[in-house]
């Protein structure tokens, strides 16, 4: 389980990205690192799926972006949650918790 993640469903990645941005704006690499850190290395997201997700979320109106200087004094594109994105994150989190609980109940009943 320490290795690469097996099925990261589409909606999940979006939710994880929104979650990492809940407290502060981050750039692309920051988001990738943050997801890896929080999941303790279970989820490693590669740019090939990360950047298309940014574009998708931006188009959906959940993210916005701006260019800022990084801590190393370089310019990077920072992503921020919009109010709509915050609402979306809340909804998705609630839905996820509900589903996860339900799945857990089913799995427990089985054994």
């Amino acid at each position: 389980m320490a290795d690469k993640p097996s099925g990261l469903v589409q909606g999940t990645l979006d939710m994880l990205i929104l979650k990492t941005l809940e407290l502060e704006a981050r750039h692309g690499y920051g988001i990738a690192v943050r997801i890896e850190q929080i999941s303790k290395g279970v989820f490693q997201v590669n740019p090939g799926s990360l950047f298309p997700a940014f574009r998708r979320l931006e188009r959906a109106g959940w993210l916005k972006s701006e260019w800022r200087d990084t801590e190393n004094n370089r310019r990077a594109k920072y992503y921020l949650l919009t109010a709509q994105g915050r609402k979306q994150l809340k909804g998705e989190t609630r839905e996820w918790a509900r589903q996860a609980a339900a799945i857990a109940r089913i799995l427990e009943a089985e054994s």
Partner: protein, 907 residues
Amino acid sequence: MSLLRNLVGGLRGLSRKRQVEHEMDEELRGYLDAAVSEKMRRGMSRDEALRAARIEMGGAESVKEQIRAVSWESVIETLWQDLKFGLRLLRFNTSFAAAAILSLALGIGANTAIFQLLDAVRLRTLPVKKPQELARIAIDHRKSASGHFTSRYSDLTYAMWQQIRSQQQGFSNIFAWGPTHFNTSPAGEVHNVNGLWVSGGFFQTLGVEPALGSLLLPSDDEQECASAGAILSYSYWQREYGGQRDVIGRKLTISRHPLPITGVAAPDFYGVEVGRSFDVAVPLCTEPLIEGDDSQLKSRIGWWLAAMGRLKPGWTVERAAAQLRAISPGIFQAALPAEFNPANAKNFLQYKLGATAAGSGISDLRQQFEDPLWLLLALAGLVLLIASANLANLLLARASAREKEMGMRMAMGASRARLMRQLLAESLLLAAIGAAFSALLARNVSQVLATSLSTQHDPLFFDIGMDWRVLGFTTALAVLTCILFGVAPALHATSLAPSAVLKETGRGATQGRSRFGLRRILVVSQIALSLTLLVGALLFARSLNNLVKLDPGFRRDGILVADIDFTARHLPKEGRVAFSDELLRRVRAIPGVEAASTAAIVPLSGDGIGRDVLMGDTGESEGDDHVAAFNYVSPGFFDTLQTSFLAGRDFDEHDRTGARNAAIVNETFLKKFAAGKDPLAMTFRVRRMNHTSAPYQIIGMVRDTKYRELRDELGPIVYTARAQNENPATDAQILIRSRAPLASLLSAIKTMASQADPDTDITFSSFHQMIDDGLLRDRLMARLSGFFGVLAALLAAIGLYGVISYMVERRRNEIGIRMALGAGQQSIIRLVLRETGLLLAIGLVTGVALALATAKTAASMLFDLKPTDVLTYLLAALSLSAVAALASFLPARRAARLDPMVALRNE
């Protein structure tokens, strides 16, 4: 909301593409930098870190591609890129592009042209208000009728029209009309225009507004022609009067009767007859005035009108037809002609009126040309199919040339769908350019076709143009052909594993049996379809040839018909024969005239008179079928047309009124009515509507001749002396056989006629031309199907040439080895031609089967030729084989001239 943002974002992406791309680059570079410094922080060397980060990220290009794929604008963008790329490829392959576009333009153009004509003749609705509410009123299933038929649409008599007008209930408005010719020349040579007799409701029912003056009203019918005037069509007004606004009130001469011009109809209105536009319309009530003694309105046996109505709101055609059926007995009882004998009357009283939808107008051309046009459309469709097969073949050849490119792009990460999209975009580009050219071509071709249906005496008018139906048809064809020729090559080009393609050197990977098999199948189907088209072309050509070469029983060439009309003299019946004899005498005196005579019916003019014949002096006939064709001729008729006598003598000056009725009959008359008897001892009587004539003595028998049309079977014909006709006409149709040059002959006749009486009208026509005009449809079919056949054979030859060349190229090594081992040029050529022979044989067999199955549809259009005519099939197969042999001999010779060393070194 998010849709709008998506739209805005997409448009921004499209309009500021460079900036968006630039930002994307910068962001990815930043990501990479961050990853590298992170890894270096963990202790990797710079190079190691860079390498690891790059591996993690994958190709920057493919990431960018994935980002782009998220947004909708990228679809448009890649399409645009594909089209640009496709266009560039076409520019680099001009010969390929030219061949492809030309064959598509020809194929689609031919289809569109014929469809345009069909659209104009059959599908389009009349340019009037709510055409779908219009219905034509006529007798249902009228098999036979007695009387005088003088119009193309002899649906009704005037008495019937009056009854229908007062008794019908299903129509809010109703009118009667009849097409005719009006002579608008005040004197001398006739100048005919297309005329209409119309009842007062004509313009109002159709909802046509005046462009100038006023049009007729239904109330005009009741006023006994008090306000009778002529209505001009807009185009006639423009043509003849230059659109002058002061024409209202000016006099227009119609058959020497001046009528005031009262109005001009709206610009786009051409009448209710598709294919013919009217010039002048006059009220029905002026007919007795203009036609005089020949008036149909006064006669209860004159069939000259057709009727149309506009349905009342809520009424269907069926309901209106049912109402008409219900009132039919009363109408026909009231309109029964007094002249009818009991048999005629019984038939007449059984008629039932009906109604049919007439929103797309009325046309006798449909009957004549609809089937041929559908058939031509099918033939043109076959040509397009062959052209598509050809193109598919060319594209397959190109696909094998480009397989390296495809393999390379797939290896670099392009998806198969992406490549297919690009290949299909190229095909679509070809199809679109081809279709655009075809639209230009079609316009001209259909115009030429439409004019070729017109003759001097029957000018046709077609409203040909682009409407949504034609546009849709052409677009559908373009898309269809694109799919037909584009999909298979695209599938093939992208079906190879990239590693397999790139590994191969020298020889391509497309030598697989299956791929080449597809190209062979395409060529075989091309050959089969071309054979079908060639068979069709030859059938029509041979049928036309049969008609042209047919001996009609008389001479076709060098005969002029001059119709001299002396109605204006108002001669009594006795005077008419004398005057026409005088005209004939003067014509015969013109230098260069070898023979001349008059005839009531000019053979093969399409006119005819049929009458019942009773053999013997007394008694009733046995059996039903005693109809014979009649003609009233002057002495010298048979000499003029060079029809030979088999027995007896010609008419002479003794056969006049008062003398015993004399008749000359043809062979078939004798065979049918008095087989085996001596014709010169026979007599017969003629049954008219209400009496039976005095006996006729047969004085001569002539060869069989054609009567109305070349296509008709030989039938019994009776010639009687013009001088003994009970009701001589007020014109003389003079047939003149002459050696004099046409121009001087025409002017001599004009001078002669005006000397005899300045008040005569003359119409000239060439006998030969008239017969040719009767073969219009046959000539059209022969020409067009011939054109399609040649085109198809040409396309098939190109296809075959391509495939054989390809095969030679593919087998270069093998051929080189064979030659190195001592095979001669002959045997190499034989090797290549064997391949052709196989393809040809399969194609021909399939083609013959296809042609046999489809040729039946043309059976009714062929003259004296079966659709299974063996010689035609042989000729078609032979000519196609010759073309095929030529097309494959060139690559075969090239193969035979290969230098074995060069061929082998190539490996």
